[in-house]
Amino acid sequence: MSTLTAQKTSFAAVLWDYLTTVDHKKIGKLYLYGGAFFFLLGGLEAVIIRIQLIKPENDFISAGLYNEMITMHGTTMIFFAATPLLLGLMNAIMPLQIGARDVAFPFVNALGFWLFLFGGIMLNVSWLTGGAPDAGWTAYAPLSTTSPGHGVDYYVLGLQLSGAGTLMGGINFLVTIVNMRAPGMTFMRMPLFTWTTFITSVLILFAFPALTVGLFLLMFDRMFGSAFFDTALGGNSIIWQHLFWIFGHPEVYVLILPVFGVFSEIFATFSKKRLFGYTAMVFATILIGFLGFMVWAHHMFTVGMGPVTNSIFAIATMAIAVPTGIKIFNWLLTLWGGNITINSAMLWALAFIPSFTIGGMTGVMVASSVADYQYHDTYFVVAHFHYVIVGGVVFGILAACHYWWPIMFKRVLNEKLGKWAFWNFFIGFHMTFFIQHFLGLMGMPRRYWVFLENQGLDLGNLISSVGALFMSIGVIIFLYNAIYCWFKGDPAPQDPWDARTLEWAVDKSVPYYNFKQLPLVRGLDPLWIEKMEGNGKMTPAEPVGDIHMPHGSILPFLMTVGFFIASFGFIYQTVNDIAYIFLFGGMGLALGCMLVRSLKDDHGYHITKEELEKEAD
């Protein structure tokens, strides 16, 4: 089976392989490709926004198109770039870190990816069918319920599809981490990235259902004539804000916690020291995850919830600064006394500390409700969350790419290009967003299509737009680096960073079954322990034996296509009865696939001991 796939290299064969794959490493790559595509799309939208705001009363794009741009930029970046890029990294790395051969539910894993991808396509199809959603990525009712055209319908169904996919991913990781750790890999020996994946998955499990419910209500209001958010008919539009932020705030931690894990790995590896205060780091992560659910209404200080609610949520929000501070100081102390190598991965990680600290500072500032009456919905908040999401999440994803590229793509990224990309992006980032704190306080609300002349906002906006240019150059250099190394790079050596954790113990060819023999884990940083004791490699926990592997399947893809078709049916049944054909046809396909999956026994296959021994030669 394995040798067969290796021999077929025609394009069609590769395509079929990826359409049917259930291998976590390939799915991880697919997530990365998909996420990168949407990241570029969202970036393009950001550039268009900054061009529109380069001078006062600019008419580069119309008001309606501008609103579509900001909506699509936010939605794309959060749901279709940041989240899937992180899910991709988790998929590619986490099972290796705990010494597993795959995730617990490989089939569901594939389904999760396809749902994400088709959700993203669904959302973007709206550009071609009469206008993208234009109610902001937060889609506040009643603006979203009354938005004309089908834009917001695409938003609802696109997010519903990808949200289901993300939920499946989260459940899958939870089960994987609980059940599939290698012998000796106790919870308190898990690498921080695995820990943050675990907590993130818990957050996904509890946060995404709130979004699903909100989207269902919105869908019924828009497509089936209900009035959950319609004040005139006894509904309440504030409910949407609560549901959205009960999801939306934990989502921020869904994004930031995994990169906290990434940085913990990188700081330890390149300082040649174990992570300072491992236990404190783990509990800080758990605490952040828990508090993340207690603070959603700080997005709503100006809604008029009253002083008691505002005070409670202000204090709860400030409390999150404590575990976050613990993390920052533990990272600094990890560096302290180490033997620090500064390369591209480390540059992103080091730049994260001041950038994210500023984001955290402004986080405490916006938590102060009375001050937030000024910050709220202005460029100050825009600056704040970009410091957290770009300075935190994007820096983290880029650091992780540099760090794990050898495992994921069997190449080491070019250092020189890596540094060029870093400096352009880093300078551009601070140029774009630092000044926006002041723009906000000088009276510029967010989501403004134009700002007027003579309001003292010209220079700040110009600087911000020029910064966006530098960020774009940085991204282009990084892409060039990735493509250059793909074609011209040398194969990566085994364990190029002299790292500490289990994923680096996998053979550099990264076989599809990961570990021929499951490794025996003897402590935190298991590979480092073996290196220090002069073994150089992991001790196996079992003799060479048959390995049980799952079969590939086209069903996840077909199922998703079914839901995708049905989504068009849902959207257009309001205007044309023909759409019911799509609705029932699509649902029929999806449910049919489920039926096949349920009734057809698939026990997978075994790689025999003999095959494994043959491959070793």
């Binding site: 300082s271 491992y278 400030m318 533990n330 180490g338 306080l441 009276g443």
Partner: protein, 355 residues
């Protein structure tokens, strides 16, 4: 001596911060140079956390830079394996406790101010203005005074004025940065807060909750005048009777005919009226801005009447009336621009900051 130096340093630091903040932005728009109670309280709570957090940032930066200088890989130490430290309980306690203390310093005034600003027990003793947010204009109804205006709201200086706000369509947010922080204008419930300006002037207000294509064009003005001027303004507005007030010129009289013929009154009231489908035009001639944003000139007004869509995309006026020719629009403009019942205008607002 040392204590005095410390105090001096803190004071001069605060002074510098204040100076820096004051230099930021347009005087009647910025939140950094407050002219009202709400904005002042917000600024206090902007400065306190900024100072505290800058201190934290400094500590982080010093540690980071020192670590990088001291512990960067040196040439002779390529293979040096540093001591594998597990952690340090004392340090963990220190960097848990100090942030908690710092946060309490921020949290206490936050809670006090939150309750202060939400206290509306004395609302009935003060002027109340009922605000309706609409796509994309503001309606102001002076409670008990039978005065309605749009876009420009006149209030007296050094006096609490309560705003009871509700939306007629989507959610808006009422924000006059220099006077106070913002409050959302929801379709389901009435939200109340007060403005208390301590300096006369014309302050820019903006809609701060995303409300559609012309969200960025939904500006309004708060005109703060002296107590006497305000009383005079109220009297003038109340005495104005659209039935008896004769247009100043022939052109304006023709404009009035056209205004009636085109059924503009179906949406726009002139004089006190409960109707609020479109902006009340009683004191249109005194407005500081056309449609909240454009310069108030006859040319612009003609442009607006002929096709408002070009100025405010997605507004609710477009297409609601028969086509108006340039010439007719010019006459209507003539009529509207002379609607000026009061001698008190934006120019009386003290420093009269315009633009």
């Amino acid at each position: 001596m040392k204590g005095w130096m410390g105090k001096f340093k803190v004071l001069s630091l605060l002074g510098l911060v204040a100076l820096f903040l004051a230099a930021c932005g347009k005087e009647n728009l910025t939140a950094l140079d407050p002219k009202g109670v709400g904005a002042q309280k917000s600024l206090d709570l902007i400065i306190i956390p900024t100072v505290i957090m800058s201190f934290v940032f400094l500590v982080v930066m010093v540690l980071l830079v020192l670590a990088l200088i001291k512990f960067r890989k040196k040439k002779g130490q390529k293979d040096f394996i540093p001591k594998q430290v597990e952690g340090n309980k004392t340090l963990e306690v220190v960097w848990t406790t100090i942030p908690i203390i710092l946060l309490i310093i921020i949290a206490v005034p936050t809670v006090i101010y939150t309750f202060d600003l939400a206290d509306d027990a004395d609302a009935s003793d003060h002027l109340n203005i009922n605000v309706t947010g609409n796509q994309y204009w503001w309606h102001f109804d002076y409670e008990g005074l039978e005065i309605q205006t749009s876009q420009d709201v006149y209030i007296p200086v050094n006096s609490k004025v309560y705003f009871n706000m509700k939306s007629s369509d989507v959610i808006h947010s009422f924000w006059v940065p220099t006077l106070s922080g913002k409050l959302d204008v929801n379709p389901e419930n009435e939200n109340t807060f007060f403005l208390d300006a301590h300096e006369e002037g014309v302050y820019w207000g903006k809609c701060a909750e995303f409300c559609g294509p012309s969200h960025s064009l939904m500006d309004f003005k708060v005109v703060v005048v002296s107590q006497e001027e305000f009383e005079q303004w109220v009297a003038d507005m109340q005495n104005f009777d659209p039935e008896t007030a004769e247009p100043a010129t022939d052109a304006a009289a023709q404009g009035r005919e056209l205004f009636n013929e085109n059924n503009c009154l179906g949406c726009h009231a002139i004089g006190s009226s409960a109707a609020a489908i479109g902006p009340n035009l009683t004191n249109f001639g005194e407005r500081s801005r056309l449609a909240g944003i454009e310069e108030m000139t006859k040319e612009k007004l003609v442009e607006w009447i002929v096709n408002p869509e070009l100025i405010k995309p997605g507004n609710k006026m477009t297409g609601k009336y028969p086509e108006v020719s340039q010439d007719d629009a010019a006459l209507i403009a003539e009529y509207l621009l002379q609607l000026s019942p009061s001698e008190i205008t934006t120019e009386d607002a003290g420093n009269g900051i315009e633009q």
